[in-house]
Symmetry: C3
Subunit: 379 residues, 3 copies
């Protein structure tokens, strides 16, 4: 199903994320009507723009003429005009106008590459791989996002490390020592885990063993709303290429919150990514209580995230210096998620972004992305 997998013994940090999935590359609010946004996926620059109708389009971010980024351009109706010599493009990448084209110029460029686009969950997703597989590849399903019983907090941050460090960070809950200042002393106990060809899922029991705990942490897990200081069952799951976390208080059947996350590589070498997170929090019985708690929960989660970022970016710096993976992993499920990420990924070829794009130099955008399939799905 996925053809170009990296071998099992390859250095995980040289494994590229598989492009045949839907990846968020912007939050919807970053692409207002009639505006552009300079997005990127693994070294491929992508010009997003939202036309007058509200539809978002995604084009290779360079004019076919002189390579100036189209994201510097001007939206006109459903087309995008380059800022420099005013060449205009349709949402499918075809050139619709060259204002001053002299007669007798044979074979002017036909356009640039376009990407399938979906807008959902307040995010703009593109499909950077084989466009023929876009329609049959589902977006992630997040029923809680639409539920009136939940409210969603959005995270969007650039993190300077390979995406794999993020999966390992969240799956290995023994790293709670890192958050001792925010969470107090937590003793995570691994209840069990499961591994499949495309997933690893681990369940932990979190027992608070003393120490000061950030108030936002309590509010998030429902304690502040009357849940008490009971232990939580935390389920972390990498299901390629996404990751989720669910927290269920031990005295409950329903999750207090669940997190969906995607780690989208930015540079061609994939040593930096943009982390998009949707934290869906169950509303407590008291109306409006969650709104009051919102700023505290935001502060708490940002603190935790900042600590994780400090650790994973230190890991990447070490890898950069050592030039290869020196890790001595002792936790079996982490060895499993490494295999999942390795076998579902693709080799990183730093030049591939450009080589792939070069195929469009002659002006023939890759087939299969007519503008009607690249359209907006109301979120």
């Amino acid at each position: 199903m996925r053809e170009h997998r990296a071998g099992p013994t390859a250095d995980l940090r040289r494994t590229g994320i598989h492009p045949n999935f839907w990846y968020p590359v912007a939050v919807s609010g970053s692409v207002p009507k009639n505006k552009t946004f300079a997005a990127v996926f693994a070294g491929e620059r992508i010009a997003l723009y939202r036309g007058a109708s509200g539809t978002v389009f995604a084009l290779e971010d360079r004019c076919a003429h002189r390579q100036v980024p189209l994201s510097m351009g001007v939206v006109e109706g459903e087309t995008l005009r380059c800022c420099y010599h005013a060449w205009a493009y349709r949402g499918n990448g075809r050139i619709s106008q060259i204002p001053y084209l002299p007669k007798g110029v044979d074979r002017p460029p036909r356009g640039v590459r376009s990407y399938p686009v979906r807008e959902r969950y307040g995010l703009v997703f593109v499909f950077p791989g084989d466009p023929e597989k876009a329609d049959t590849t589902p977006l992630p399903e997040l029923p809680e996002y639409d539920s009136v019983k939940h409210k969603t907090m959005v995270f969007s941050r650039t993190v300077h490390c390979h995406y794999s460090f993020m999966h390992e960070n969240l799956l290995d809950m023994n790293h709670q020592f890192l958050h001792r200042g925010v969470l107090g002393k937590i003793q995570p106990k691994l209840l069990g885990y499961e591994t499949g060809p495309e997933f690893v899922e681990a369940r932990y029991l979190f027992v608070h063993a003393g120490g000061k705990k950030d108030r936002g942490a309590g509010l998030l897990s429902g304690e502040g709303f009357g849940g008490g200081n009971s232990p939580d069952v935390i389920t972390v799951r990498t299901e390629y290429p996404y990751q989720t976390l669910q927290a269920v208080p031990e005295n409950s059947e329903l999750p207090a919150f669940s997190l969906w996350a995607a780690y989208v590589p930015k540079d061609a070498e994939q040593r930096t990514h943009h982390a998009y997170g949707l934290l869906m929090i169950a509303k407590p019985p008291i109306p409006g209580a969650l709104n009051l708690a919102w700023p505290l929960i935001r502060r708490f989660t940002e603190r935790v995230f900042a600590e994780d970022r400090m650790a994973v970016e230190a890991e990447q710096r070490a890898w950069d210096e050592q030039g290869e993976d020196w890790n001595h992993e002792v936790f079996p499920l982490i060895l499993d998620v490494r295999d999942v990420l390795r076998t579902n990924g693709v080799p990183i070829r730093p030049e591939s972004a450009l080589c792939g794009a070069a195929a469009f130099c002659d002006g023939a955008p890759r087939a299969g992305t007519p503008s009607d399939t690249a359209s907006h799905q109301p979120g």
Copy 2:
């Protein structure tokens, strides 16, 4: 006449500017009497200094002793003394004193390279090529600079792109879309163009087709002084290695203004240059009117230049990422100017600046630049 030309199929952005011309490397005001200035030409560091007599000299910017830049040194009369161990140099590059030279040291270094210098039009020009050709190579002729009927505005800016992007920018007036915010809607019409082995000249008719126009733009073209909103004939000419632009209102025979520009590479790879521009503006009949308009004209021209810079630097960034020239040019005269720049240039050898200089390691500065030919021509 010029020996080492790049082939016609070479990547234009890897073509070095030919050194056998006079290039400005500083505005005169940057080199006050008894002071130094650190200039550069295509990776060659050049120490300028103005002696007590007012003459400007140009030396290779390193002491022959320990390679510390001579531009950090101290001017003494017509000599330049290194700041570190006080070795002194004449304007022709020869060492005139080593204060503490022990007896019995055989063959101390004789000096460093010097460059022919001319000062004219408020600029300091050096001749970075074969010094024997300096005397027979004319400086550009700019009669309007000296005319009492004109006043000159000086531009001096570092731009992070290959000089060729500048020539193409100005010659292809279809880029007026870039300046829509400053100039309103302009419809440039190509009236004709001519190409020779060392030049391309294009004539355009500029018709203002609506939109708000910066007041400085009107003042510059003479409208504000009673010229009305008539169309202008704009003539742009690349005459290797310089570029000029003349604007003649259709109801006039005399240019409202003319621009002379030189794009002087800074780094050895020539991906950055310093643009020097002299904008010579015809004084309107009302005495003092031009002085009043001066700040508005300055603001307008700086805005236009900032937009051009944004575009050409985006082109260079694209080239850096793509590693070669992907441009699909459709405008014939731009194809012509590319040929002119390619065939009159030289291959870029990043190491050439150093290799050339290395020839002086033994202390024998290149012949032919006695201090009397490297002298100042009163401007």
Copy 3:
């Protein structure tokens, strides 16, 4: 005795400092009790920490688990715990605890490299070379540091150049021209010099020949305390790998001050170092006078040091651009000190820091550094 010497014709700026010496890597105050400090020696990152007992330990600055710097960790008694998954290390580099280690994991890592440590003269010294040679290699002897007749000013600055430029700077006193603004006009006269396989020592007579002199300079040489404007005899000595300077007023037998300096490479290519200096100043007869003069002496010495830094960093930049050593040295004793630095040094292998460390990947820290020899010597 020192096995891997660079050949006599090697480029001095590619010569690594020999690791079989004691090198300061921090001032003591940077490592308070129960705290860590991220030090470095020639590309090897070193985590210093001071345990509850006051002893300073030095470990390779990476956790054996996931390579996160141990200097980001937490001191617990005499051990250091990694901030991420809480692995704990002893001062000899052995892992003392992995809090969650699952059963059945065979051969978890045993630890990381440790370095012999001595604390003396307000500095933390490590022995980065063969640890078996640490005990038989003496620390520098600085009797004046402990003398009640002296007071010591500490210098600690990163300088972006190869350490050899520092030795040459201080030994060639003809560079006083560089300090003309601070010291006035000095005419240094070389009285004589001696060279041995591991040292060069030069004696100069400094005569003040006019010009304004910084007040701190006078105070430092004892003039301000009644010493008058008499000439000084300055003795500069490189004794591998350290350097010293003594200033003896001509009418005295005792040094007015003496300086001890070490230039400790930071990066693997050794193009940057950290300069540690101890300036031991003889107290004048008037009690408290030195304390009053202290800020002026500090300002003066910092000004001199800033000028030297400007020069040696310009030398390094020139070397970086030229790619090799173009210097034309004419001062014989400088040629001698180059030979001393070359023949006592080791070839720079940028990857050696990592290769050496890689030997510890299997968890076997290099033998010979039990924690009791890596201990603190009360200063």
